[in-house]
Symmetry: C2
Subunit: 766 residues, 2 copies
């Protein structure tokens, strides 16, 4: 009997699995979410964690004009702004939701008629090769983007594999059809950003080359191989570099027409065709961080044929599979759109950074082979240590391990002997503060078995944290705080170092390295040094031990802070909320403080200083668009009024995430904002990664099933779910009532079921 | 008996060989020859065909000032000018004797006292880091250079292996001793020549990095690894780039002091030490065309230890071995200096261009492995096809084959499907005209068995010669000449193409490809199309078939010619002197013409137009410093007055080559001038490479032994040798009198002995 039962279960599971795969979750993804204003997302084609992000660029804003920063550029971090009326072309690399930018490599634009090699301007598109377009012809879906280029009557369609962009352009009949390959265009372009570009026409369907830039990634080279599905009849380029005194003996040739090596600092190239009406001109465009040869190999490896629809189909299946890692039930289509778009945005970064043959360019500018792992880049760790990597630690465990292996490779290749801070394309850009890679590493090792050397990982964390030159760590180590007169962002740095040090201590404890544990536990107490009892806030301190004068806890950024004011940052002790509450006068005063944060009226003058957050991104003085606040609502769980967490979390979910182009309250920050949404929608959040604890909030869906990589599932069921019934009345975990507002990682990863019973009244006692 | 005889011979040979090796031919090499004015040689350290040429640079002349060419730069093609009074530093790469330039990578300068990061000026050396020096402290020998840097009381010594420069600086006692590594300095430097430089401090004795330049080689990257024999105490850099609007987040660090990644467009770095009096600070500085890792591997491979003298000793042994390929006897020390310095200069280029592990950067910008050959670069083929490669074909056969394999690799990697024209550092710079690689290839295949695929080599030659876009070959192919109204250097081009085509035809004949033979034999007749019977000169022709008006056969360069006037160029039919003589009116008129060439008075106005040739470089209207004339004196051998060849050749040898700094009549041209000297001194010359014939001149030594790679020797004995006895009275080849003025390649390569009996009277009949 027993055997039969098992067989039945097996069949049931198999059937379920099949049904699951058939569900098309891709339909709920709306890549347009976040493309207006400050979301900094892009609508184009990419596969999960893909190297290629093939997407339309709608302007060509220079980063600087006459050596002066051009603030307009900020809107174009992802290349696309929803309100724009023209498309300049389709480039192959884009960041998702960053607050600074780079990339936009290899812009392709199909045109007909007289060849134009300048992009033109948005107000006079006919002055250049850009085209008008309208959202009515636009389709944006996972791994598929479509738009009509009105000025040329060309239908553009894009899809991609991990390393290859696939363009399909349906042309009108024309004797003058062109594909422009703009080697100058880029996101955050300043006049000297291009260091060198090289284009090599191998034959009349194959072109290879590379672009070397000095941008956010300071020392970056990206290679390509491009093939056409029909031969071009002629080709050429124009070199827009300032005239150089030295041309050697190349000057005796006409290098602008049909000359197979095109190189310089600023060039645009073009390829000419004759097209029949309705003819589909297709381009496969492969990238490589290693070489042109590597790009060509990627191309052959990933897209051997010319079936655009099949590649799109495969990409969408890939997305569907990833989206199925969490299946939710909700009556609201918009909620599903929000959720699965958040899942989509969470699964874009970090990005694969190696060729199909596992070769990649390292931080040390050498070519390495990734043995038994996939090398990733695009680590926006100040953002993503909070919720994105913890999310991966539940539903993308293997990838997260490979990401950590990539960080450890970065460490080994670092002249600074540092784990990544914000790394991209074999470059460290040092963006933001802290050394939060240690949080990601500790979180993984503490929560599960890992297949990398944990002791070496600890060594990397310790060495990183002992780099005295970095971010004024020397002062921090010696004095227990970063002095404001010695360094910028002194409070933010001190608080984040303290948390990171606690992560290292936890990791050391797990590995029985009590010497390290003791040292870093001590360091992790440093946050206490900056608590000013007289004001009740974390406050910048001078190197002589006196508090900074003229302290305004509402002021964001300098002095003392970055991307958060003291009101928010003073609560950044995720590693020990209990101690924080005690330090701040106990339960009652702490609750009052949190209440004030969410309800106070922030004077107008502070909005201007709250970088890249729309006014809607702020609730009272709580700034959801900036990460330092992400754990704050959950801090109520450590007080005796956890129901307030539930209230504010539901409000944040409702106010800060909308299924429309301007639906994000701030930059998506390579998925961190989305990861917050996913966790909070499911009803819990990792307040302190590197602990195994999740704080419970208020689940916002009817049910969810998390498919874990160990084959188990964790099911969330929510009874009496509604917009009013936002308070948790009762929680039943695996058939037993829960009497606190915390889940452990084991609760989830071992599989099981949690049932939330909701009500419209705050519940004082579970 | 017979066996015993053989044994005795063997012993005799062995003894001879030992004696030979003990002779120190290195003593006769004077690297200073050619370092004054136009020789464009350098005095520094290099091994035969080495990748490193570590040599002092005496000025920092920019290629252009305010976008305008600075003619002063021309004197500095090799970095050093004998008359200069200051040394700026020691850089690792230099061309030998070129007439255009590049390189000068990675300038090292040791200093003491206040750190200066500008080179200063020659008239005010104390304004920068350069130092005064005097020739009295200077020693220049093969693979060894020594000089006192007077301003710092530092004795500088340099030696090198193929890929590693070895510096030894004997310092005074100083608390402020510096090694400056100037990443901006270079030969033919213009403000934007540096594309990007990168320096990485791995630890306190190891530094790696690279320099990317846009120079004569347009797209060049050279990597390095540098180790010190003691740790530096601190280091830093200054970035001289114009201010860039974008600094990312690097701006928050002090990148100028002890910051281990130093990158940008224009930087100079320095490393600080404390030195005791007489302390030797040593630096091993390895190069790689592939990667920093490759450079480091080269370093460990070639110089594992720190014994400077042993490395120098090994380098000089290597030179001694190469110099021994030809042993001469002469009563004149100066003649030996001339001869062995010519051998030295002949064995510098082409240069090794691959790492110890056989990886190299290809023309296609990909990393390749040289399987079973050494990859070379620095092919100045317009110069070297004439005598240098034919010389290699006798005494450097294996290297010459590897050079051809390198050219064939270049061909395979060429987007143009072209053999090299003038190639360096994985770049084609298109300098000069013709496709003379085909001459080198045909010469090798015709003269001996080769271990590369001769048929594929023929295919490469044919494809190269059929590139209609290159150098107006389309016109040449269609019309049988390059029209002057369509192209520059039309006559020079036509004549050289015709010769090259003849080479291809000879090669095709050897490979029994009679279709190719017929086609290229026909093309090789094209020189006839430009012979203007009315003037008796090769003359520019227009595309309508009329002769160019206002033709001046004395005018060098445009119109019609390059590096030679019509007087000289009209004689450029080396493949068929008989036909040339016939075309020009027969024996008598041809002799008169040659006589005029050597004896006429060239009006002053033409000197200015005779590029880079000192007035002494001209005999009558014969310009030895420019290669198109190199075969001319030997043309008398095809007339009935060969004794005139003997006369002029001895005069050229005597007038154009002197064992002193200004001893060369023109640029050494990567060894071609030296190869002419070597051949002519030995008594014969390859008038038409790709034939197996050598024309006999007048040997200038008492005897010579050529040690061939097949183990045989070819001995030249000259009886009655003196400065007056310049005429060949009798020739005995292997005990038989010779009745003509030609040797075949087999005569030489089979070994044997030639005896010249000289006299002071012209000999009318052999």
């Amino acid at each position: 009997m027993r055997k039969i039962l098992i067989a039945l279960i097996f069949i049931a599971q198999a059937t379920f699995a099949q049904v699951a795969i058939k569900k098309d979750l891709v339909q709920y993804v709306n890549p347009m979410i976040g493309t207006r204003d400050m979301g900094h997302t892009y609508p184009g084609a990419t596969v999960p964690f893909g190297m290629v992000q093939l997407s339309p660029d709608t302007d060509t804003i220079p980063y600087a004009v006459n050596g002066k920063y051009n603030p307009e550029v900020y809107r174009y971090c992802a290349g696309y702004q929803y309100d724009d009326k023209t498309i300049v072309g389709f480039s192959h690399t884009h960041f998702n939701g960053t607050g600074h930018s780079d990339l936009g490599d290899f812009l392709i634009m199909p045109t007909v008629g007289k060849l134009k090699l300048n992009p033109g301007t948005a107000d006079r598109p006919e002055s250049g090769f850009r085209s008008r377009f309208s959202h009515s012809t636009e389709v944006a879906a996972p791994d598929y983007y479509k738009v009509k280029l009105d000025d040329y009557d060309i239908m553009a369609e894009l899809t991609a594999t991990a390393r290859v962009g696939f363009h399909q352009y349906t042309f009108p009949a024309s004797d003058q059809a062109h594909i422009i390959l703009d080697m100058m265009s880029g996101v955050y372009n300043y006049p000297d950003k291009n260091v060198w570009v090289y284009v090599r026409v191998v034959n009349d369907t194959l072109v290879t080359g590379y672009r070397q830039t000095e941008g956010w990634a300071r020392n970056r080279v990206l290679y390509f191989a491009m093939v056409f599905n029909k031969p071009f009849t002629s080709y050429g380029m124009h070199n827009f570099s300032r005239t150089e005194p030295y041309h050697g003996f190349w000057g005796k040739f006409d290098q602008e027409h049909d000359f197979p090596v095109m190189a310089g600092r600023q060039i645009r190239t073009y390829f000419n065709f004759k097209t029949r009406a309705g003819e589909k001109l297709k381009i496969k465009f492969a990238l490589s961080p290693v070489s042109m040869k590597g790009a060509l190999n990627n191309l052959h490896h990933e897209i051997p044929g010319w079936d655009f629809d099949a590649v799109k189909e495969r990409g969408q299946e890939e997305w569907n599979k990833e989206l199925h890692r969490i299946e939710i039930q909700s009556d609201s289509r918009l909620e599903k759109e929000n959720f699965y778009t958040a899942m989509y945005h969470a699964f874009i970064n970090p990005t694969v950074y190696m060729d199909a043959d596992h070769l990649y360019k390292g931080l040390d500018k050498e070519i390495h082979r990734a043995d038994h792992f996939t090398n990733y880049t695009t680590f926006s760790l100040w953002d993503t240590f909070r919720a994105l990597h913890p999310l991966f630690n539940i539903i993308q465990v293997r990838r997260n391990e490979d990401m950590i292996k990539s960080m450890l490779a970065h460490y080994r290749q670092s002249a600074f002997h540092m784990l990544p801070v914000w790394s991209n394309s074999a470059n460290e850009n040092w963006c933001m503060i802290g050394y939060h890679a240690v949080s990601v590493i500790a979180d993984a090792i503490i929560k599960d078995k890992v297949d990398f050397d944990a002791n070496k990982a600890l060594e990397a964390c310790v060495t990183t944290a002992d780099n005295r030159w970095y971010g004024d760590l020397g002062y921090y180590i010696d004095k227990g705080y970063v002095p404001e007169d010695k360094s910028s962002s002194s409070v933010s740095q001190t608080l984040e170092y303290a948390y990171d040090d606690w992560c290292i201590a936890q990791l050391a404890k797990k590995l029985h390295r009590m010497d390290v544990y003791d040292r870093f536990t001590k360091r992790s107490q440093s946050y206490k040094n900056l608590y000013d009892l007289s004001t009740g806030f974390m406050r910048p301190e001078m190197s002589d031990g006196t508090w900074m004068k003229n302290f305004d806890p509402l002021e964001t950024n300098e002095p003392g802070f970055v991307e958060g004011n003291s009101w928010n940052y003073s609560l950044f002790v995720p590693q020990d909320p209990k101690a924080l509450i005690g330090m701040m006068g106990g339960n009652k005063r702490f609750i009052a403080r949190l209440d004030s944060l969410f309800t106070m009226q922030l004077p107008d003058k502070y909005f201007a200083h709250t970088e890249d957050i729309s006014r809607e991104g702020i609730i009272g003085n709580y700034v959801h668009g900036n990460e330092p606040s992400h754990h704050i609502a959950y801090l109520y769980d450590w007080t005796n009024e956890p129901w307030k967490a539930q209230k504010w979390i539901r409000l944040i979910l409702k106010n800060q995430y909308h299924a429309k182009p301007d639906g994000l309250g701030g930059n998506d920050d390579t998925g961190q904002m989305s990861a917050w949404y996913i966790f909070s929608t499911l009803g819990f959040y990792p307040v302190a990664p590197a602990s195994d604890q999740y704080a419970i909030g208020s689940p916002a869906i009817k049910s969810a099933v998390m498919h874990l990589e160990n084959g188990k599932t964790f099911t969330i069921q929510v009874k009496n779910q509604s917009d009013k019934d936002i308070y948790v009345k009762k929680i039943i975990l695996n058939d037993r009532p829960l009497h606190h507002y915390f889940l452990s990682h084991q609760d989830i990863i071992n599989g099981g079921r949690i049932i939330f019973i909701m009500s419209d009244n705050p519940n004082k006692q579970l």
